[in-house]
């Protein structure tokens, strides 16, 4: 769909530059410059550029900060008094786009090239400055054989009629850039998967998490409206390409359907009769309910859910369909219906013994203890199944903190009951946790030590103090927890047929 433009032949061989001074006009994608953020100057990488009414703006990623803090900034926040790092030159589609210039070089090619080019980029991280390219504003990228680019097409198609050639007016036309350089720069060499490897891994293991190569690095939605809230998305999600233009995407709180405008959304609301997640309620206490939803039976709803959660989960992939997963959705209830608060997905059969694939509390409900309930519930299911479980890796930063807090609380609770000795495997079995996770937790809390005779578990003062604080807080605020006897659930069994016919 994206126009293929091969007319801009490279005017010269780019020579790599490491650092140098830049002007606004010479900034290009992949450049790392210092950007003012909350009163500090931080190194940021330009991922995307566009120009609206003659004013350029830049989508930047702050180095060593999570991607969810990536943002659009105006040119005046870029500190041009300091040297910038130019992107590695081997990137085939380096193009600098000045506001006066618009270039498009969509190129599609297989990922092998990307991998190759990336590793090359790593190798040549300290190339020589590319003065030529800096000085030639009209330079365009080569019609690359490299770089599967991820974000380009969207922007083109959304702005331009199908098949037409981009016009040269810069106003209101998004500049289209190539991000593979950025992507390459970010990943460390030792974790580069080939795309084939990754897809194979996805196909065979059913993993929902995705590797860097898959990630589209620029957020595509500005804002979503859902229930009583307006939420800023954190990451890219493959909602219909039309939505890139919407100021706000409206999401129905019950069916999770998506609408690019308020009129169709209101029409939808007048017709939608769903009042809770469309599955069986398997748990209910006076605070929350849990619904079990089969991805195969509720394909539309689960797809909607995945699209939504992708907005907040960096490593989630929507590459494959939702069929092999069960979704456990937590909701609070009132007269309006059951409000979806968070969920975790779980493979129907996990070869690696994962009990959670993705887990998310919607941002509007975060920092209220719902995450702990979700985690607790996932372990309760594992206990019912008689299995040990562990969340699928990689964890996000928030995921790691959430799990660590939960693990710590559970393990310390068991150890503090006055026993004089403990067995790591038994502790794991009692909590449906894998041995490795128990070990991880003990170690992280510095509770596993070696004294003269051998290893021992130490209930450190810090851990005990934190437990006291926790109890104090629970006394004050009330403790929310999952009550096992309110779970009415049997582990679902999937017949061979349902697996064979699985697509």
């Amino acid at each position: 769909m994206a126009p293929r433009e091969n007319s801009h032949e490279p005017s010269g061989t780019p020579v790599p530059v490491e650092t140098g001074f830049a002007t606004l006009a010479t900034l290009r994608v992949g450049t790392k410059a210092f950007v003012e953020k909350d009163g500090e100057k931080r190194k940021a990488e330009i991922l995307h550029m566009r120009s609206r009414r003659g004013k350029p703006s830049f989508y930047v990623h702050y180095e060593d900060f999570n991607k969810r803090l990536d943002e659009w900034i105006d040119a005046d926040r870029i500190d041009l008094s300091r040297e910038v790092e130019w992107p590695a030159p081997e990137k085939p589609e380096k193009k600098k786009s000045a506001p006066s210039q618009k270039n498009q070089a969509p190129s599609k090619s297989d990922q092998k090239n990307l991998k190759r080019s990336r590793s090359k980029a790593e190798r040549e991280a300290s190339g020589t400055p590319d003065s030529t390219s800096v000085n030639l504003p009209g330079k365009a990228q080569r019609p690359s054989k490299a770089a599967g680019k991820e974000n380009k097409e969207i922007l083109v198609t959304s702005e331009l009629p199908d098949g037409s050639t981009p016009k040269l007016e810069d106003d209101d036309i998004d500049m289209v850039d190539v991000q593979d350089a950025a992507a390459a720069a970010k990943s460390l060499p030792n974790e580069v998967y080939s795309r084939e490897d990754e897809i194979e891994k996805l196909r065979t293991s059913g993993s929902m998490t995705q590797n860097q190569t898959e990630i589209s690095r620029v957020r595509n939605l500005d804002k979503i409206q859902m229930g009583k809230f307006e939420i800023e998305p954190w990451y890219f999600s493959p909602y219909p390409t039309e939505f890139v233009d919407s100021d706000m995407v409206y999401i129905c709180e019950f069916c999770l359907g998506y609408y690019g405008d308020v009129t169709p959304f209101e029409r939808h609301r007048s017709k939608c009769t769903l009042l809770h997640p469309p599955g069986n309620e398997i748990y209910r206490d006076d605070y929350v309910s849990f619904f079990e939803i089969d991805g195969r039976r509720q394909r539309t709803w689960c797809r909607n859910l995945c699209l939504l959660s992708k907005l907040f989960l960096d490593h989630k992939t929507l590459y494959y369909d939702v069929d092999p997963f069960l979704f456990y959705c937590m909701a609070t209830r009132d007269e309006h219906g059951c409000h979806f608060v968070g969920y975790f997905s779980k493979e129907k059969e996990s070869a690696e013994g994962y009990n959670v694939a993705c887990i998310l509390t919607l941002p509007q409900y975060q920092r209220r203890g719902f995450g702990k309930l979700l985690i607790d519930f996932s372990y309760l299911l594992s206990k019912r199944e008689g299995k040990l479980g562990s969340p699928e890796k990689p964890l996000s930063d928030l995921g790691l903190l959430g799990y660590r807090a939960y693990w710590q609380e559970m393990i310390v609770d068991i150890l503090v009951d006055g026993r004089v000795e403990a067995n790591i495997e038994d502790v794991g079995a009692a909590l449906a946790m894998t041995t490795n996770d128990v070990l991880h937790t003990l170690q992280n809390l510095n509770m596993l030590r070696y004294s003269g005779k051998g290893h021992c578990i130490v209930l450190t003062d810090a851990v005990l103090e934190q437990r006291e604080r926790q109890k104090e807080k629970e006394k004050k605020k009330g403790k929310r927890s999952i009550e096992p006897d309110k779970l009415i659930w049997k582990p679902p069994i999937f017949s061979a047929a349902s697996r064979t016919w699985n697509w």
Binding site: D64, Q212, E253, H268, A422, V458
Partner: protein
């Protein structure tokens, strides 16, 4: 990091996860100056991606936790996330309060498609178009929003099915004629009226965006080379796991398919038959209604033309087998008397109607008893006529209920003497009698039933009237009150009984068998005996008991005539 690797590393360090380790408090462990030993335990990976593990906010928190930062400060540390703020939309308008929580856990299997009605939702362009359209049209041909969406949805869906790759090969927008040819049940009749003008609008909208779908859609795989690199392509099918092909498996699959097919056919046939039945019922109801209406019309006409005739036959559905009416022998004046008609046994026990030509024994008996009844009735009327203006003071008036009630109610029976040996049964005497009769069903219908009118003035069944104490108040000459009594029982016997009872009052506590007759509770004779007592006078005890015993002994014999007291409840 896999379990295996961890295990390996720990085995080297001699840390076993299976061994019990001592749990100690910090003060119980000697401070290790040299933390070399701790280093023997390898770090377990966090599970966070390496690139992200070093992120500023995460590191800040992790190190704060590791350092055991003061609670107040640690609480302030968190990973900042983009905002979620309250929306300006009117939540209550969009999400009405429709939810009531069921008492049991919700079970639900409808899909989103089932719940959202028409998929197409109007855009603001559509709203403007519809407003303009309706403005031009008269009140009668207003297009509602629902109808509009229905048509739009139809156009979208038809276009998707007919031109699945419209976006790829730049196909022209489907002409209206093609659309019209596709009309099916998804588009209702009254919505079709608007199809043409809406089509024009739809076409314009499609052209504006290069004949792509008006409903924003996700990108699915198109099997083009570009798919893999496009992050918008999502939810790909997972390849089906290839099953090894064997002949046995093929046969199995064929069998399964055949079976499924057969079951489906059967289900379909069942449904078709059910539908047929219901249609027939509907037709029948319509016919009945028609008949009814025409009859009432006929009635009107007859009334208008003042034709007198047998309305019943015209206006009431005749039963296939008309009642054999035993009116031939019954005198005409008796016909109209209510309660007179003897219920003829119309059906066999299995519910089938009797053959009208067949003269059954029951009928004969009924006819005869009716004749008798009729005769008695006639005489009774005659007697009544004689008695007009007189009070029948004879000992046993023939027509007590028809005479002045005072004559009867003057005597008030007092049931002092007839103590029931058991509390009265809750069943009516007739039922009791019927039960008794069950022994010999053949005779059940043969027993001459007597009209209640005959027994009305008779003494109650269970007490022989001679034994009943009765009182009558009379007003004599000069306004004197007189009380006549009859059948008053002397209390002698009873007082003796009382004394006897008194004698044992304090003695029977310990001995249960004292003065108590052994009773075999399973013995029906005993029960029958009791019933007999209920029904007959004490004087007849011996006789009745004897009869009863006999009847029980030979219960195949038609003995019920004896068993029953002469005045059986009817």
């Amino acid at each position: 990091m896999t379990q295996r690797v961890t295990g390996q590393r720990f085995r080297q360090r001699k840390l076993s996860t299976k061994q019990n380790l001592p749990v100690l408090r910090e003060n119980e462990v000697e401070k290790l100056v040299d933390d070399d030993a701790t280093r023997h335990i390898p770090r377990v990976e966090t599970g966070v991606e390496k690139g992200e593990e070093i992120e500023h906010h995460l590191q800040a928190i992790i190190s704060a936790q590791a350092a055991g930062t003061a609670p107040s400060k640690a609480a302030q540390l968190y990973i900042p996330t983009p905002d979620a703020i309250a929306s300006k939309l009117q939540y209550d308008d969009l999400y009405p309060r429709h939810f009531t929580q069921p008492a049991t856990y919700i079970r639900f299997s409808s899909t989103v498609e089932d719940c959202i009605g028409t998929t197409y939702c109007m855009t603001s362009d559509d709203v403007a178009f519809l407003k303009g359209y309706n403005h031009k049209k008269g009140k009668s041909v207003q297009c509602s929003e629902d109808e509009f969406e229905e048509v739009m949805n139809f156009l979208e869906e038809t276009s998707t099915t007919k031109q699945p790759y419209a976006t790829v090969d730049n196909a022209p927008v489907l002409p209206y004629e093609d659309m019209e040819a596709e009309f099916d049940e998804t588009i209702r009749e009254h919505s079709r009226r608007f199809a043409k003008p809406i089509y024009e609008h739809w076409k314009n909208q499609r052209l504006l965006i290069g004949n792509r779908s008006l409903i924003p859609a996700l990108k699915f795989e198109t099997n083009l080379e570009t798919d893999d690199a496009d992050p918008y392509v999502c939810f790909r099918r997972r390849e089906v796991r290839q099953v090894r092909k064997t002949r046995g498996r093929d046969a199995q699959v064929t069998e399964k398919l055949k079976k499924l097919r057969k079951e489906l056919e059967e289900g379909r046939y069942l449904m078709a038959q059910v539908k047929r039945r219901e249609v027939l019922i509907r037709d029948q109801l319509a016919q009945d209604k028609l008949i009814f209406q025409q009859r009432s019309e006929l009635k009107e006409i007859k009334r208008k033309l003042s034709i007198k005739g047998d309305d019943e036959e015209l206006l009431i559905n005749q039963r296939p087998a008309p009642k054999p009416k035993p009116k031939i022998d019954v005198p005409a004046p008796l016909r109209g008397i209510p309660g007179m008609g003897q219920k003829a046994q119309m059906a066999r026990p299995d519910g089938r109607l009797l053959d009208p030509d067949l003269v059954s024994h029951e009928e004969q008996v009924a006819k005869r008893s009716e004749m008798i009844d009729g005769f008695v009735e006639e005489n009774l009327m005659k007697h009544q006529k004689w008695n007009v203006g007189w009070i029948d003071q004879t000992w046993r008036p023939i027509t007590p209920p028809l005479e002045q009630p005072a004559a009867k109610s003057n005597f008030r029976p007092v049931f002092t003497s007839a103590q029931l040996p058991t509390p009265p049964a809750s069943v009516s005497s007739e039922e009791a009698a019927a039960e008794q009769m069950d022994v010999d069903q053949e005779n059940k219908q043969v027993v001459p039933r007597r009209s209640a009118r005959f027994r009305y003035a008779s003494p109650p069944d269970d007490v022989p009237f001679q034994e009943q104490a009765r009182f009558r108040r009379r007003t004599g000459r000069g306004g004197r009150f007189m009380v006549d009594r009859r059948g008053l029982k002397r209390q002698k016997l009873e007082s003796i009984d009382e004394r006897v009872a008194d004698r044992f009052r304090y003695a029977d506590d310990s001995s249960e068998d004292d003065g108590v007759t052994d009773v075999d509770h399973t013995d029906t004779l005993h029960i029958r005996y009791r019933i007999m007592i209920d029904r007959q006078g004490e004087k007849q005890h011996a006789q009745a008991a004897a009869q009863n015993r006999r009847s029980v002994e030979n219960h195949n014999r038609s003995a019920s005539g004896h068993l029953l007291p002469p005045s059986q409840a009817g």
